[in-house]
Structures are given as structure tokens and as C-alpha cells.
Amino acid sequence: MLRPLILVALAAGTAAAQSAPGTIRATVTDVPGGLVPGVSVEAKREPSGPTITGRGDARGTYTIDAPAGTYELSVNAPGMKSFRRSGLIVSAGQTLRLDVRLEETVSLRTLGEDPTAIAATYFNRPEPPKGPTPRLTNGKPDLTGVWLGGPTDLGGIDFQPWAAALLKERVDNNVKDWPPTFCQPASAVPFFTGGFFKLVHHPSTLVFIVENATAFTQMQLDGRPHPPGVGPYWLGHQVGRWDGDTLVVDAVGFRDRGWLGFSGQPHSDKLHVVERLRRPDLGHLEIEITLDDPGAFQKTWTGTLKATLSPDIELQEFVCNENNKDAAHMVGK
């Protein structure tokens, strides 16, 4: 089975620079006591003031500088229940210390999964090599490489009521029917699968291969349109075109009630995905993802995923359904 994603917000810390700030400093652990790296943090000034966002570091601590006042603090890490506390008083020049303990929404520890160790893969990655963007023979950026993606925050999707109810049902049921449990694709958006993925860039086609799930998908780059009535496919029908040095991939033709992420965010067969892929240099890949789904969302959603090049390694062969025991172990409530 695919390892559960540790999806963490990418929003860079943007501490408000105002006079005489105080500081909120916290250590975030999970119930067994492991440090939870890279949490997303929001401090909202009460009653209706601005919100300061930040991100925890790789060692499970975060620090926010905030103007003196009263705050509601929320701490989120995917796969974990939200931590929320209001009435926190920040005094000028003082540090408010907190210990935050996050409970898991879904525990996969019985399957031997260690969310903290998986998160460490993302946060302790080596610096990618430096150099200019490699180019295809046609002069366009060559996106080929083995990449370590994520983490991505799929939060903030504004669901229609039926989709919100389905999401709740999936979460309440401990994501028992998560497709990778049955060796099926983790997400309609391949880049949300997590872990290592490989791009093979041929002038006619961009191939996406993911290591820890089934399996590959193609983005057609030869100018073809979406065939009428194409699909329904798990991963949609994907076509791409260049906008300068940005490859714009457009996907339609999805299945109904698919999954976008590990927490069970649903989509309908009206899902429309637009991915803008950029390789600004040798070692980095940036993908801006816009999801529009008039069948499931109230409004479009946009997020960014950043990946780093993992040179000199290759994807391992992974045959999910060889002796797969997950379906029997995922027992629901």
C-alpha cells in the first residue's frame, strides 16, 4: 500500500512586522510523544484581527512573532486532528510557551507506518544540485528527473454539502476505502500521491511514474484536444501545452466520487485540473495546481507543490498487490 501522505502546508512564515511584538513558541508532539515537523500554524487576532500564518520547523517547534493582543491559535498537520485554542494573551516582549499535542485522525501504526518518520523524509531531504534548467531538443525545459514532491496542503477546499458530508463520512470511517488500500490510484491528481516520482519528458509526451502506488500516467503534448466524452478515468485525460517556459497541463474525464487526497477529499466527474509546471533551475520543480469542480466544490481551489530533484537514485519496483494485507487491516470505525 501507499504510505499515507504527510501533507503539510507550504505557506512560508510571514510574521507581521509591527512594533513591540510578543512571541508564541510551541513544541508540537503526537500522542506517542514524537515531534511533529512542519505543522501549519495560524494565529488570528481576536476578535476579528489579521491572521498570522507560519510553519513549524523540522524539529517540531515553531515560533511566531505577533503584536501584543489576544489570539486564537490553530495548529494543523494532515492526518492529525486540528488543535485550536482561543484567548491566548501575547504580551509585548514576552514569550508565550505552549505544548501542543496533536491526535491522529487515522492511525496506521498497526500497519507499521510511522507518520513522523515519513515526514522526516520530506523535511530532511538533501539540498538538490545546482545548475541551469536542462532543455529538450526543441528548446523547452526538460522536466525529466526523479523528484521528491510534497508536502502539500489540500486544506481549504470549499466543498458543496454532499461532498463535505462524504469527506466527513470517509474521515469518520478511518479512510477505510482509501483506494491505495486496494492498490488503486491515490489521487486524481498524480502529484498529490506523495513520495518519489519520476518524470520522463519526451517532446510528444510527459510521463509521470510514481514509486509507491499504481503507477504511471501520461500527459499528451502534441496539441491534441480532449476527445469528446473521454473517460471516466481515475487520473483523467491529460493534455499539455507550453506557455513560455511553463508547461500547462489540462485534465478532464475523471471518475465520479474519486479521492483527491489521503483524508478523503472527494471530487466529481466534472473535475477540471490545471497544472502549471515550471523548472526554474536544475534542482527544483514548482507545480501550481488549480482544481475546479462544479459538481463538488463551491469555488475553485489553487495550491502549489514544490519538488526537489533526487539525483543518482532510481525508483524501486513496487508491486502493490503482491501479498497485500491492507484491505483486511483497514477495519473502519
Binding site: 486496494f182 488503486q184 510528444s204 499504481t214 503507477a215 501520461q218 466524452g229 481515475w234
Partner: protein, 281 residues
């Protein structure tokens, strides 16, 4: 259920190999295919070339032959499948002297037992990878994408893939045993010579269950004599399983202007369980 064909050695029953009623073949006049005046793909045209001048093996391929299907009297009849499968898919040694592979005694016995069981334990039925050389013989589409440093083979079956490295790398020192093995290729004239090592034990190399061990070494010489075909000479050297190396010839034909479909074998998969119920019957 996906479009996985379930091949059973004796009868070569290809249920499900045709596309289901709800789906449709993707048809799109694909760029780069030479055409006659009326727009028909000219499959006899010369093979395309990579920027470095070597043959470009890219394309959507399937076995050039039609597999034999047997009726209840054991007579061959058309299978009704639009996608070819090689007669060698059932018995890779069909064209060798004696009509069989040079088995070691234990391997001959194992293959015989599997045939008696009508191949109900075939890994393909359980949606396991169609390891080489089987993917060249089964009645399914394979798309090849050829870049100067890498040849990727994408199988329609269960979105499986195989990589053939063309960047001159050696075999890794300590390979994980895998279904697809580790494949590296080099050019000998216009033939791409692909060598594969690092297989896991007890792979099936045909549908009757001829085995290959982790000692197996495979060499595939792939040529594209014209736009529409591939010729593949497969040599297997596995002294644990076979008394001597053997070479068989396979051929593929291009399926122009179409694409492989999204197919997840395990979705609603019932074949394995149903076939297991027939054991001994």
C-alpha cells in the same frame, strides 16, 4: 473491471481482451506518422530516427500475430480480439525443436503440472506484472517512449511500466530481485540490445507456466525494420531452469493513431477467485 485479458494456456480464452461497451478506442491522427495520399498510415515507410540518428522505437505496439483460440473440439478459430497476441505467449518454445523449451527435469514437471491446472495460478490473473518477455506476447497494448537516455515501456494492463536505461550505466552491484529485472541497453548498429538481470525467482515466461529463476539472464535484440513493426530476438540463459540458452523471435506491429487507456486490473477483480474454484475439476 478493467480490460485485462485473462489468458489460460490451453484454451487461450481471452475474455475481456476486447474493449468494453462503455469505453471507446481513442482515435487521433498522431503527429509524425507517415501517411499515404488518402491519409492512411504508411506502415511500410522507414523507421523514424532519434536526434542521434538511431532508430526511434516509440509507438503503441502489440504482438503482430493472432493467438490461436480453440473451440470445444480443440480446433483453432478466430478469437474476436482486435489486439494481436503471439502464439508464443502460450508456449514460448513452440517454434523450437520438439516444440518446447529445453527444460531441466524439475522445470518440465512444474510446467506440466501448471498446464494440468489450466494455469489458474498465472500471476497475470492476479494482476501481477507481465514481466519480460511476456509483455511482448500477451494480447495487450504496450506504448514505448524512446528518449536518447531511456526507453520506457508502458503497459495498458494495470498501468505497469518497465524502464530500459540507455545511458551506459552498468548493472547495480546488488540488485533487488524484481518482476521486471534491471534493464540496460546499448546499440549494435541499428539493433538496440537490451540486457536484463536481477529477476526474482519463479517468474512465468509464458502462459503455460514455463519458469525462470533469479539466475536468468535475458537479452533482447530489438529492431524496427520499418515504421510499422518491431522484431525482437529474445535469448534466455538460465542454467538453473534450462539445459541450454535458447533464442526465440517475436514481432510487434504498430497500432497507429490510438492511445492506451486507463486500466486498473484490480478494480472489481474476480478472476483469480473464480479460477481457483476450478482447481482439480
Amino acid at each position: 473491471m478493467g480490460r485485462k485479458g485473462r489468458t489460460i494456456a490451453l484454451a487461450l480464452v481471452l475474455t475481456g481482451a476486447a474493449s468494453p461497451g462503455v469505453a471507446q478506442w481513442l482515435r487521433y491522427p498522431t503527429e509524425g506518422i507517415p501517411r499515404t495520399a488518402d491519409g492512411t498510415p504508411n506502415l511500410a515507410a522507414p523507421a523514424p530516427r532519434l536526434p542521434d540518428g538511431k532508430p526511434d522505437l516509440s509507438g503503441v505496439w502489440h504482438a503482430a500475430q493472432t493467438p490461436p483460440c480453440l473451440d470445444s473440439r480443440g480446433e483453432e478459430r478466430p478469437c474476436g480480439s482486435a489486439v494481436g497476441g503471439s502464439p508464443l505467449g502460450g508456449n514460448l518454445g513452440r517454434n523450437l525443436p520438439g516444440g518446447k523449451l529445453p527444460y531441466q527435469p524439475w522445470a518440465a514437471k512444474l510446467t506440466e503440472d501448471r498446464l494440468k491446472d489450466r494455469s489458474i495460478d498465472d500471476p497475470h490473473v492476479r494482476c501481477m506484472p507481465d514481466n519480460p518477455p511476456r509483455h511482448w506476447t500477451l494480447p495487450h497494448l504496450t506504448k514505448a517512449l524512446h528518449t536518447p537516455k531511456l526507453l520506457v515501456l508502458m503497459y495498458e494492463v494495470n498501468a505497469m511500466y518497465r524502464q530500459i536505461f540507455l545511458d551506459g550505466r552498468p548493472f547495480p552491484a546488488d540488485m533487488n530481485p524484481t518482476w521486471n529485472g534491471y534493464s540496460v541497453g546499448h546499440w549494435e548498429g541499428d539493433a538496440l540490445v537490451v540486457e536484463t538481470r536481477g529477476f526474482r525467482d519463479d517468474l512465468w515466461i509464458d502462459t503455460q507456466g514455463s519458469p525462470m529463476s533469479s539466475a536468468g539472464k535475458m537479452t533482447e535484440k530489438i529492431r524496427r525494420p520499418n515504421f510499422g513493426s518491431l522484431e525482437i530476438e529474445v535469448t534466455i540463459d538460465d542454467p538453473k531452469t534450462y539445459t541450454k540458452p535458447f533464442t526465440v523471435r517475436l514481432s510487434e506491429q504498430l497500432e497507429p493513431d490510438t492511445e492506451i487507456l486507463d486500466e486498473f486490473c484490480l478494480e472489481g477483480e474476480k478472476d483469480y477467485e473464480r479460477l481457483q474454484r476450478t482447481r482439480g475439476k
